[in-house]
């Protein structure tokens, strides 16, 4: 069997895409992708099960549910990974993350189950040598993985307290590849999957996801537009 590529989606990325009405482009991306788009059960709770009961976000939840029902996004069992395996790894990750950073002598609890479950699935796939990236728009998990020293500085600056972190523990998170909805709309645009031609389409797409929570700076947007 050919090993497929996997994109693991955190709630934050699907929320940016959803709130910008970009699911048609998302479906087109899936159609050209040689692999699967996966969400964990924990993420499903955040973007379908919980908001489906909140009037303000019921429609968004239904749209995401439809993606799941139609197989555009799938659950880990579709790639032979059981929920209990993810739960176990998620708890392990929660323990490591939430005991890695300390301020005022107390542990700083940084992330929650959905985000941790994305990292857990990424770890499991890495161990199986399955090529994967994690799509996550929120900032903290990305900083934790790619630049924990920046996260420490940010926490110190904002909390006005000395923060320490256990470098050896945090190394556990260094082998993830992370993208955001910004990179997804970039690739959709470059591959001609966005049905707009007039105007500054790439700029509009990048700012649209930024304004719905994708953690990307104006400088990064400028750089992407130059590529």
């Amino acid at each position: 069997m050919t090993l497929q590529k996997i994109i693991i989606f955190d709630a934050s990325t699907l929320i940016s895409l959803s709130m910008n009405g970009l699911f048609e482009e998302f479906k087109k991306l899936k159609s050209i992708f040689n692999g699967k788009f996966i969400i964990t059960e924990y993420v499903k709770r955040e973007i379908i099960d919980t908001p489906i009961n909140i009037k303000k976000f019921e429609l968004e939840a239904l749209k995401i549910k439809q993606l799941l029902d139609k197989g555009v996004i799938e659950l880990p069992k579709s790639i032979g990974i059981k929920d209990n395996e993810i739960s176990k790894k998620t708890n392990e990750i929660m323990d490591i993350v939430n005991s890695s950073f300390q301020g005022n002598g107390k542990e700083i609890r940084l992330i929650d189950l959905g985000e941790a479950s994305c990292l857990a699935l990424g770890k499991i796939l890495n161990e199986k040598n399955i090529v994967n990236v994690i799509a996550i728009d929120e900032r903290t998990t990305r900083m934790l993985s790619e630049r924990p020293e920046n996260l420490k500085k940010l926490l110190e600056k904002k909390l006005h307290t000395k923060v320490s972190y256990k470098k050896e523990r945090v190394k556990f998170f260094s082998d993830f590849k992370i993208i955001r909805s910004a990179e997804l709309v970039y690739i959709a645009y470059k591959k001609g999957l966005v049905n707009l031609s007039d105007g500054n389409v790439l700029d509009a797409l990048l700012y649209a996801v930024k304004f719905k929570g994708c953690s990307i700076s104006d400088d990064e947007i400028r750089e992407i537009k130059k590529l």
Binding site: N150, K153, I179
Partner: protein, 186 residues
């Protein structure tokens, strides 16, 4: 409650600022609650943060004072803040929680437009405080859960702020990240 002394000071100063109608001071005190709430993630600390912010917003809007229920509401808010201060000074956690809850109840006891307006202020205060905690480095999901709001609300609100423009937030070269997406789609 964690970091009790700090919260006690903030509440005492808030009480005086309410009496003097010093909205700038209340906003300043509200900002001070962000650090404690982010550090401790203690539900009572977070509730205090939301209450202080909401009071600042409520007092800012003169038109609320025109409603017949305003005087009672204002008097009761001051009363419950005083009760919260007493609970903290007496180290009575259960009484503290009850009094924090009474402030919410006080809003539910209102009726008509004033009730709707003030409920809206408290709802927006929760989203604002969530955004502040996210800004402090706590994840989006964690923060949404702490404040009892939806991630959709937080993402949308945080997206309008300058959180993503903080230089420390850039964690990988732009070209390298674009290469990741190109590679996975190749």
């Amino acid at each position: 409650m964690q970091e009790k002394e700090n919260i006690l000071r903030i509440l005492k100063e808030t009480k005086e600022a309410i009496k003097q109608g010093d909205i700038v001071k209340i906003k300043n005190l509200s900002n001070q609650t962000n650090n404690t709430a982010s550090r401790t993630q203690d539900p009572d600390n977070i509730t205090v943060a939301v209450i202080v912010y909401s009071i600042g917003k409520i007092l800012e809007r003169d038109k609320y004072r025109e409603y017949p229920e305003w005087n009672r509401f204002y008097k009761n808010i001051l009363f419950f803040i005083n009760e919260i201060i007493n609970s903290l000074e007496e180290n009575r956690d259960e009484k503290l929680k009850k009094n924090l809850g009474y402030i919410r109840k006080e809003i539910n006891n209102l009726s008509g437009k004033l009730k709707k307006y003030i409920q809206d202020v408290f709802r927006k205060a929760s989203i604002n405080k969530a955004s502040k905690i996210y800004e402090h480095g706590i994840s989006m999901e964690k923060t949404a859960k702490l404040l009892g709001i939806s991630m959709f609300e937080l993402a949308s609100y945080a997206g309008q702020t300058e959180i993503s423009d903080v230089p420390l937030g850039k964690t990988l070269d732009t070209k390298k990240r674009i290469k990741l997406v190109i590679d996975i789609f190749s």
